[in-house]
């Protein structure tokens, strides 16, 4: 894979300009290296979704030719798309990484968590995640969250301090100035780190295209048996659908985000290549989550509440 440094030919700029993707890439790499230099046991949250794939790609570049000095952690809801789990396992093997899996199903089987009536398991990820962080003593946890995703995230820091219960207190967040990230924390506390804070959905896709990064197939248009619920196309599956009044049909769809099957909706699309996907997103008039994630629609303050509890 070769990367050429993009020169931007813009009459307003001196010869030493960087393209926006190069600027964002350099910033993210700087964040990864800061954490490697200042923390004992960092971990990357890796779901096999596009944001975590881009995070891993950046981490690989940040430390090459040495291996990435972090392990990976996946919180498996038990309702993940098989194509995504397959991608996850292949990627881990390809780069010789270590993966920890925290399983929501194990918690349900042990009676520590209860299935919700709507079958959605995304909110159930918080407990397995926070317990994994505690038990494995991670002090820095990389997440793929972006500030453009949702209003409560617009104020998130790059380094976000969490107490021993993983709680996020908006009033305890430290001012973040220049490129000086303060990751000091007490034992038992940890820092969530968001290297893609300043990226938008389009930046992520453009970067995937520029770097030639492979993605799970479900991001591209394919025929799938789906049914409609709450205005979204959901995948038929054992997680709880379709119900009697819901009619499954086969449609040409793709996914814009990848999460729990029960709350990740597909969009009608015939985009089978990255360029076609990017073209579709660039003209899309719906934000990523608004179109496809039921869990953020629960209430206007849903995300804020769940962040406080330790969700990303």
């Amino acid at each position: 894979m070769t990367t050429t440094v993009a020169h931007v030919h813009d009459e307003t700029d001196a010869p030493y300009a960087l393209s926006h993707l190069d600027a964002l890439e350099s910033e993210a790499v700087h964040i990864f290296r800061e954490v490697a230099g200042e923390f004992e046991k960092p971990v990357i949250l890796f779901s096999g979704g596009k944001d975590s794939i881009v995070m891993l790609h950046l981490a690989l570049k940040a430390f090459a030719p040495a291996p990435v000095p972090f392990t990976l952690l996946h919180v498996d809801t038990g309702h993940n798309f098989p194509e995504v789990l397959d991608y996850r396992d292949r990627t881990v093997a390809q780069h010789g990484l270590r993966l920890h899996v925290a399983s929501v199903q194990d918690y349900i089987d042990a009676g520590k968590l209860r299935e919700r009536p709507d079958g959605t398991r995304n909110p159930l990820q918080t407990v397995p995640l926070t317990e994994a962080i505690q038990q494995l003593k991670f002090d820095a946890v990389f997440g793929g969250g972006r500030r453009d995703e949702e209003k409560a995230r617009a104020k998130e820091r790059v380094f976000s301090l969490r107490d021993e219960f993983s709680q996020w207190d908006p009033r305890r967040q430290r001012p973040e100035l220049w490129q000086l990230y303060n990751g000091r924390h007490a034992p038992g506390e940890h820092v969530r780190v968001f290297p893609l804070s300043n990226w938008t959905e389009l930046d992520v896709w453009q970067y995937i295209a520029r770097e030639g990064i492979e993605l799970p197939e479900i991001y591209f248009a394919h025929q799938r048996e789906v049914f409609q619920r709450n205005g979204m196309w959901l995948t038929a599956g054992e997680w709880g659908g379709p119900k009697e009044n819901e009619t499954p049909e086969t449609r040409l769809i793709r996914y814009r985000t990848v999460g729990d099957m029960s709350c990740t909706g597909a969009v009608d699309s015939d985009a089978t290549t990255l360029d076609a996907v990017i073209a579709e997103i660039a003209v899309s008039r719906l934000t990523e989550r608004g179109a496809t994630r039921a869990d953020d629609k629960m209430s206007e303050a849903a995300m804020e509440d769940r962040k406080r509890e330790g969700y990303f």
Binding site: D10, A14, R33, E34, D148, L177, L286
Partner: protein
């Protein structure tokens, strides 16, 4: 698979563009949220579902038009109080450029937030109400932009619709502000008459002000230069991390990873490592996957040197011809950002680039009131949102530049060693490009507001 996106027909947005980081300063009363909402809305960056939510809430409250300010008010506490309590980052793009906006509240109790937003900004938009003109708050915003050495300042004279779109009103405010900000050393000021509510001169040129021949706010944001002549600044490379694979494939690779803080580095250049003072020559530059002969700020790269010398995180690599001095006595202007005060004698940590060392606050010679730039001698301590001068003694030498010369290697944080709180944001050297400060006659109350 093709790895270029520029072949997508009709999608100019996808070409490589530059990135501008800018900050807005102003208060709810000035119409800041409306301006930001208008920029997002009129640049087609607000998507259908976001707009639907805004329309629904506006209708619920009985407002007859969608309240664009709602696009940017995030946390529940703010929605309840109708205020903005933290820096919010917003993202939008045009065919010409990508923008990162640090949206900061303008009231005096939020000075630290404006300082935070301005710290990474290439440009600051200062908003004034055309009916009120330049007020204390405006002068404070200009002072923060000058203090943080923001290269470009835009004065947005808002609510022109409420003064009959009169050129004379705009001209008087622009003249007063420009004189004030120039005195503080702001290098470039552009004044634009706008109405955020009606949309005049934000994105679309105003039909109501044909006397104004300049750019709209968005046009100016698209055209202002973002990269400065980096060759004018000496190169600075704080080492973040040492890469040593020690693998069969790379048995002897030793690379120093970091982000170039300023200037340009070239293969073959003689360099000095600080604080040790050892010298070597750049043998190779690895730019995230390819070897290059030249790299510049703010690229993240890995440097390989000719000699095997002891270098670790916290060291600074600089050209031997133009290396900074090291010092253990730091004189600086700080903005106090914590709720607990900073007093003379405090034992702190100082975080400068990739180096964190112990330090003691030796003196707090003065506190500065930003509204009128008066200095209050020997305040004894600084509290949240204070700006003051400090003298700090560090346990180990720092390779510190003046903040005026390099925002990245002239800035630092003071941190409470007990709980890790960020106490203050510091800028080494003189406060302003010109000596505009005056000494206050008497510090009667210790309050600025």
């Amino acid at each position: 698979m093709t790895s270029t996106t520029e072949q997508v027909a009709g999608l100019d947005d996808l070409a490589a563009t530059t990135l501008l980081r800018f900050a807005t300063a102003g208060s709810v009363d000035d119409g800041k949220s409306t301006l930001v909402g208008r920029l997002l809305h009129d640049s087609k960056s607000v998507l259908t579902d976001q707009m639907e939510a805004v329309e629904a809430v506006s209708a619920q409250r009985g407002q007859d038009a969608p309240d664009l300010a709602l696009l940017t008010d995030g946390l529940r506490a703010e929605r309840e109080q109708g205020i903005t309590i933290d820096v919010a980052y917003r993202y939008f793009a045009t065919a010409r450029r990508r923008f990162i906006l640090a949206d900061t509240p303008g009231h005096v109790q939020y000075t630290r937030n404006m300082v935070t937003g301005a710290s990474t900004a290439d440009l600051a938009v200062v908003l004034v109400d055309a009916r009120n003109g330049v007020i204390e708050q405006t002068r404070r915003h200009a002072a923060v932009a000058a203090l943080l050495r923001v290269p470009h300042v835009v004065l947005a004279v808002n609510k022109m619709d409420l003064v009959g779109y009169q050129e004379s009103v705009f001209a008087a405010i622009a003249e007063e502000f420009t004189a004030y900000a120039s005195d503080l050393g702001v290098p470039e000021i552009t004044a634009i008459p706008i109405s955020a509510l009606a949309g005049d001169n934000v994105v679309e040129p105003s039909a109501n002000m044909d006397w104004y021949g300049g750019p709209t706010v968005l046009e100016h944001l698209e055209n202002v230069p973002v990269s400065h002549d980096l060759t004018a600044c000496p190169a600075r490379f704080p080492v973040q991390y040492v890469i040593r694979p020690q693998s069969a494939e790379h048995p002897d690779y030793r690379g120093y990873a970091g982000q170039i803080a300023s200037g340009v580095l070239r293969v073959g250049e003689a360099v000095t490592v600080l604080p040790s003072g050892r010298t070597s020559v750049i043998e190779g530059i690895d730019a995230l996957g390819e070897s290059v002969d030249i790299a510049w700020a703010p690229q993240s790269v890995t440097l390989r040197l000719k000699d095997d010398i002891d270098i670790s995180r916290g060291d600074l690599i600089a050209p031997s011809a133009n290396a900074p001095a090291t010092t253990q006595d730091v004189e600086a202007t700080v903005c106090h950002v914590a709720d607990q005060p900073l007093a003379v004698g405090a034992r702190v940590l100082i975080k400068h680039t990739t180096r964190t060392v112990k330090a003691i606050v030796k003196e707090i010679p003065s506190r500065l009131t930003l509204d009128d730039l008066s200095q209050h001698p020997s305040p004894g301590q600084l509290v949240a949102n204070d700006i003051g001068r400090v003298v700090v003694r560090t346990a180990e030498p720092l390779a510190l530049d003046a903040y005026a010369d390099s925002r990245r290697t002239g800035s630092f944080l003071l941190i409470d060693p007990a709980d890790g709180t960020t106490l203050a944001a510091g800028m080494a050297g003189e406060s302003f490009a010109s000596k505009a400060e005056t000494t206050a006659q008497a510090d009667e109350e210790g309050w600025d507001f």
